[in-house]
Symmetry: D2
Subunit: 327 residues, 4 copies
């Protein structure tokens, strides 16, 4: 494995999880201290992501800094909370209520500042409620324009910080406006700011019937815009947020090759929801899979891989994967 | 509309809703009194379903009876709680831990008794956690046999009560054992008890790429086993539990015709999750849609509908639907 | 119905159809004369689309002109054949074989000229084989760049003609590069030619889990790029090319409203594959549905619809649709 | 690898392929002699399946016997042609036209006799056109009863022969009646004949969101009814009929373990459609993958695998797969 690969994970892997049926949670609630302590025991983990209000707020910034230092875990990204509270349920940047829209933009600005204080230059914008469920519910033109304008305003507020847009096709709304890699690229073509890019969550790509490697490649082609990478797996119908290695091995090998090929230098960050599993073990196993898969990809010379890709030969491609795995 | 059509709804329509992101809920928590009072305002609603532990438990049976009487709302079904608590997360009737399996069976028996006290003869068994997420996690043979045996044991405990199995293909596990209409029928062929049947949730049918009307018809063909009907809608990829009328109108018309044709005499019960909507209004609008659709179906003579079905002519079928809607 | 709505259909509706199992076709082969004669009997049909090599080639241009005149059917678009022959099976503009790529580009130029001769200014580019099936088979960066460059070259060849890119997520390849509305917009942002736009096939939108109306609206927002519209329906999992009116009525109403709202002035063109149905009847019934749905949308004042959209209220949206259909 | 594993393939792998766009085929047409000669070059292949009318008919039975003998390739199954001709397009056993229904039943009887002459005791019944596309098109009760009765009649005609029902959820109709494993089991519960069982096509299982291993296990539980196995892969949305090894490795390992566990003694038969690939190479690569995966499964003691399954531990299950692949 190359030296430069650094693993991160969401801090939520070590907390409680719930869903609409098990409202009390599948586990017990955990403190920030406990979650950091857990993360520190994950082998090869060098950083954590935080979700605002779940993990960080304006009052515990120093605590986070200390925990980060104490456990030698970098803060790799802060995910602004525009999705965990009922007030955001009808949208944020695309909220029809201008007061809510303003609140959302102010929230982003606030966390741009807070994140900078943590020595991290990247926030995540996931527009989980900016979408619609029913026909005749959305004003597509206004919603998109409002998102474009809001992102520009936030980008201008802190040109020294980077804003990563995380697209997702559905959940919690049945339809999210910024739903696919293609739509995220289209959004960026309108936003046109150097400090705005894309967070690829591979589970979101799978749920949108994207090939994960093509999504990575297109970020490269469209101005090298892949700012961050979320790793997990699912069965394509939903964002199951399963452990890495659980379903899509062949496509994961291709993904890992293309991440290397495009020269991505960011974090390999786990976004797993271990409802019924131990968080630390889920992270450990996911990283073991990533290391094993990266090693499998690296076991074949890039020139040989490139020759297969150049040929476009399906049988050769399948034989290549077989060689990576079963030699 | 025929006289015999009676509308029911889950009591949860009038409560709070949450999901994995908005753990605090999209709304405020509500008392049982409030939820019953809300239900009583829904036009043409004659009954409610209860979820055990959310709405009913061994300590509030009398309160429920009083509320039911006060608001003139029949208790149409009790859904046994084998899914809202963390202890069920690795399964119930198919739990690998025998103690948990026993608890689940005892819970069902307990609610058979409680439900009988309420003057209702129907409980719902939804095996939401009896499934698996990962390869090599499930013992399919044992799980199925354990479910078969458990259902038989419960059916024998109260032959005067009816047990409705509600199948669902996924959520909250990525795979549920009793996932489709076909699997539910196969299960019933092994269980072989008169008092065990099927609850068709049309959203579950849609999510499994079933034609809702075919699912109803097959329950008829396989020993008239449709015990209860859950109504909602979704985009087929997930159990969105949207209001009736939101997505699949043409297939809903066919469904409503076949429900009439097979002589179903049970409740038309709403199972909607109004995350962002008012519960009462959601129920009202859903019932308005049902009444309008039933009227549209009834506007064409059954003999004319049967002639189209007998012909198998696609253009004729589409013209028939157009006639129902746009005459 | 507004005067300006003009209906067109693919000429293939009146020909034979086949699939991988029924290689001899579901019907008999038909001559061009027969297909035009059939199209002429479809009520309210004012134009037809042609697929190159299926319907038009360099040798029958005059015949086509005469048939068009004789039957008073405008030629609304010519779909260049970069998908019906085995030579295109490994791609066209993104073919790894440069000779094939050149042939494809020359083919497009040839049909730009031929189409102009027919008095039509629009060709369709559907990159049905420019994609991949297996991991490690595609060179995403080169494929996309080759498509971008090829489209630019063709656009420059005839600035007086318009080129409509028809996106599709899968079939006949398991993955097509230009797969979604978002990716088509991203492509256009690189191509950057006035005479290059998008053909929205609503079945392709549905198969990509797009809301059809949002796809139309985004074409408006991104430089008014909707050049043409293909109408049909499906069950979202595949491009079933069913008759209009068969599955998605509520979303179709929203689509038709937004088409009107964005001021689209092009054709409403049927792209149905009537494998087991009569072509003329399929077209007639589809147009009857379109007219009925348009009338339903127009039956409510735009201001009332806009008020609902502005509110974002789901119950109001559903009541609006109910009013359109069941008043 | 255990001795008893025997590989077969459809003879169609070595023929031409087509689809609705490339009607002339992706390749050249091949003679039966050529296809057998090709099959004979596939390493470790010991048998072939035939599709009636594509490969076998009443006039070439002796030729087939000679080719089978000459190339030392057993005839592993004959797939009765109730799907390649236009006359079957509105159904066969469930055809509304009684004359067509009778023809279909006679066709099956004829091929029961022909197949017996070939020294093979297994025919395949795939009801590819017995389904529907549009709402109000199907008479579900009659269709199912007609299929049940027809299968019984055919089973009684030759009790010495076995009839394998191959279920599939869609294609070429948008909905097939015998669509899922569950529905096939329900059908069998009504047919109730010893010589009627199930053909599991793993691609059909995947397209129906089944876990392939659970499908195999349920055939065991329901009277050991797995008669035959079709191997391929896809992306779950469609029956892509890709080479084995292309997409679902982890689930394939589980499948192969369960096939062993339930004691299946039939053929491992390839059903791949190599549209753009060489047929022999596709078969070779698929078999190499199968052998490699079987070896990986066998590399871990069954007792260790059983311990993981018994635990139900997801992390342990994933670690087990990692051990199989990356030790």
């Amino acid at each position: 494995m190359k030296k430069e690969i650094r693993f991160s994970s969401g801090l939520h892997l070590y907390g409680n999880t719930m869903d609409r049926f098990v409202g009390g949670g599948y586990k017990a609630n955990r403190t920030i201290d406990q979650m950091f302590a857990d993360a520190a025991t994950v082998k090869d983990l060098e950083g954590v992501e935080l979700v605002a209000n779940w993990h960080i707020n304006e009052n515990n910034v120093n605590q986070i800094k200390e925990l980060s230092k104490k456990h030698n875990l970098a803060i790799t990204m802060v995910i602004v909370d525009i999705f965990t509270q009922a007030k955001w349920s009808m949208g944020t940047f695309a909220a029809k209520n201008p007061a809510i829209r303003n609140q959302a933009i102010e929230e982003v600005k606030k966390y741009l500042d807070i994140t900078a204080q943590l020595g991290c230059d990247l926030i995540n914008l996931w527009f989980g409620h900016d979408g619609f469920d029913y026909s005749f519910q959305a004003d597509f033109l206004k919603a998109w324009q409002d998102i474009i304008d809001g992102v520009k305003e936030c980008a201008d507020y802190r040109p020294d910080m980077r804003l990563g847009i995380e697209y997702k096709i559905k959940e919690p709304r049945t339809h999210l406006h910024i739903g696919t890699l293609g739509k995220a690229l289209a959004l960026l073509s309108k936003v046109n700011k150097n400090n705005v890019g894309i967070v690829i969550d591979v589970g979101h790509a799978l749920a949108a019937y994207e090939n994960m490697a093509e999504s990575v490649a297109l970020c490269k082609l469209f101005d090298d815009k892949m700012f961050h990478l979320h790793l997990n797996d699912n069965y394509r119908a939903w964002d199951d947020d399963m452990m890495v290695g659980s379903v899509h091995l062949q496509e994961y090998l291709e993904l890992l090759y293309w991440i290397k090929k495009v020269g991505y230098s960011g974090w390999y960050s786990l976004d797993v929801f271990p409802y019924r599993e131990d968080g630390v073990k889920s992270a450990d196993e996911s990283i073991e899979w990533l290391k094993a898969m990266i090693k499998a990809v690296d076991s074949v010379d890039d020139s040989e891989i490139e020759a297969v890709i150049k040929s476009g030969d399906a049988v050769g491609a399948l034989a290549l994967i077989r060689k990576m795995l079963f030699r």
